[in-house]
């Protein structure tokens, strides 16, 4: 077993053990913290498809994160109030069941990602970063000023949405739901990375001309990756809305997009468990420092700076050694 794989297993175990330990100690809040880690990690795993494998630095993934969140919020508010979400071609009252919400969150994120990706992928490099940002900003300003679902005030979810057969209101159960989804996304990532699709995607990141010259058009590969990536991030958004029982435009803000990127780099770009390591570290820093000092952002900054300067390849890079390669 390679060192990296051992570290990955360790991280997965660690994340699982936090809520169990919390339960044993009676510190329920740590379950929430661990759930948050899992959800942010899931969002970042989504982004990692585009960014880590495809080199598509999307500075607009908060759009999908937020869209997922709003799907959860809007569906459950309609289900709760028994008002139809739309009445043509059939009456639809939303849903307060997670599977339906997840599916919708992924589907809608993907559907919106498709045109955004198709336009954005005409550009490359920094232009791509900025055009994805532009789309996310459009959605952000739309959400702020659109009164129907609360605008900037956001939208509350009165009771956490359900999952058939289990009680999601129990923190540990909700954590487990998120954790399983995270593992599933990681498994998917690992499969895709090693597949033909993944090979083409990664080759496109390294040398687009080469990829085209062997007969694989980069555009379609990238568009597919961008869409998958958006769907997974959208799923994470739906989960976060359920965790907070609340969704607001701040989930759509550029700071959020930036934070997702930071999570990935912090953990190790392109690494399978990079997003997991990054999310765990970030949430932990934020929590511990926030409790210690009012100036926590200052110290968080110092720590992040230390990581970039002295820990090449992010946390996983330092622990597992050797930079990634195909």
């Amino acid at each position: 077993m390679s060192r990296e794989r051992a570290i990955n297993l360790l991280l997965a175990g660690l994340l699982l053990s936090v809520p169990l330990a919390a339960l044993a100690l009676g510190e329920l809040f740590y379950i929430t913290l661990a759930t948050r880690m899992a959800i942010l990690a899931l969002a970042a795993v989504g982004l990692n498809f585009a960014l880590g494998l495809g080199g598509l630095v999307s500075f607009g993934h908060a759009a999908f994160f937020g869209i997922g969140g709003y799907v959860a919020g809007i569906f459950s508010s309609h289900a709760f109030n028994q008002t139809p979400l739309f009445s043509w071609p059939f009456e639809f009252f939303g849903s307060d069941q997670m599977p339906a919400i997840w599916l919708a969150a992924m589907l809608i994120s993907a559907l919106i990602a498709l045109p955004i990706g198709a336009i954005s992928l005409r550009t490359a490099g920094v232009y791509f970063i900025m055009i994805t940002l532009a789309f996310a900003q459009m959605i952000y300003y739309f959400a702020i000023s659109w009164p129907a679902y609360g605008g900037e005030d956001g939208l509350s979810i009165v009771v956490r949405n359900g999952f058939p057969g289990v009680n999601t209101a129990v923190p540990l159960i909700f954590f487990l739901v998120c954790y399983v989804l995270l593992l599933a996304a990681l498994a998917l990532f690992a499969l895709v990375r090693d597949s033909r699709f993944g090979a083409a995607l990664q080759a496109g990141r390294q040398n687009e001309t080469r990829l085209a010259a062997v007969g694989i058009a980069p555009f379609r590969i990238r568009l597919a990756a961008f869409t998958i990536s958006a769907a997974i991030t959208g799923l994470a958004g739906a989960l976060l809305a359920d965790l907070n029982r609340f969704v607001s435009p701040s989930m759509l803000s550029w700071q959020m997009s930036g934070e997702l990127i930071v999570l990935i780099i912090l953990g190790g770009t392109g690494r399978l468990f990079g997003p997991v390591a990054g999310a765990m570290l970030f949430v932990l820093f934020e929590f511990v420092l926030g409790g210690l000092t009012e100036r926590w952002q200052f110290f968080l900054g110092l720590i992040l700076l230390g990581v970039v300067l002295f820990a090449r390849g992010g946390l996983i890079g330092v622990l597992a050694g050797k930079a990634r390669h195909g």
Binding site: F197, A200, V214, I216
Partner: protein, 249 residues
Amino acid sequence: MAEPVLSIRDLRKSFGALKATDGVSLDLRPGEIHALIGPNGAGKTTLIHQIAGGITPDSGEVVFLGEDIGALGVAARARRGLGRSFQISSLAPEFSALRNVMLAVQSRQGSSFRFFRPVMKDRSLTEPAMAMLERTGLAARANVPAAELSHGERRQLEIAIALALGPRAFLLDEPMAGMGPEGSRALTAFLDGLRHEAPILLVEHDMDAVFALADRISVLVYGRVIATGTVDEVRGDAEVRRAYLGERP
């Protein structure tokens, strides 16, 4: 005479005031090596790019296997069977030599929208790729990332990738560059055999190789073909000697 595999009709391309391709027509027949020579900046690479699809010509047509491929993109042309090597090596630097070749094999086998099966465990990919590395003498370097190969080795890898596409015609832009005497000799012998798999349009400044290999030679100067003929005809052409060959001892 057999139908040409590739034929170019009156191709034109200008960059501003510069006519990089100025009414070029030439064809590539089955089984031949057609060398394209000419001074630096004559427009050879630009021509190859237009055939491969990277540059859109201003006018003229490119007919490949009886089909006008003028509207197709780079990738589509490659899938039709145009295999090319780059004048300045263009590889996926983080991938090993083997994975670089596997990419071509994968493309040749069809859709890349396969998400689950690991490529490294897929012998239908690894075996043909390894075979190509063996043919080009790079087998020992199969697992070295392309970025860590020496200049000459990268040139060899370019050839291996073009081969792996199993193309119907080769477009090789200065494959000999940087190969060294031994490498050039080996490559010359190799290309000599290759012409039977698919015809080669060969851009090359190494005259020893060109004279040893070419069935026909076209000479491009300032975007125009000033001469086409056999080795001896072209060698004897005073204009060609002046513009290109120089007074060789």
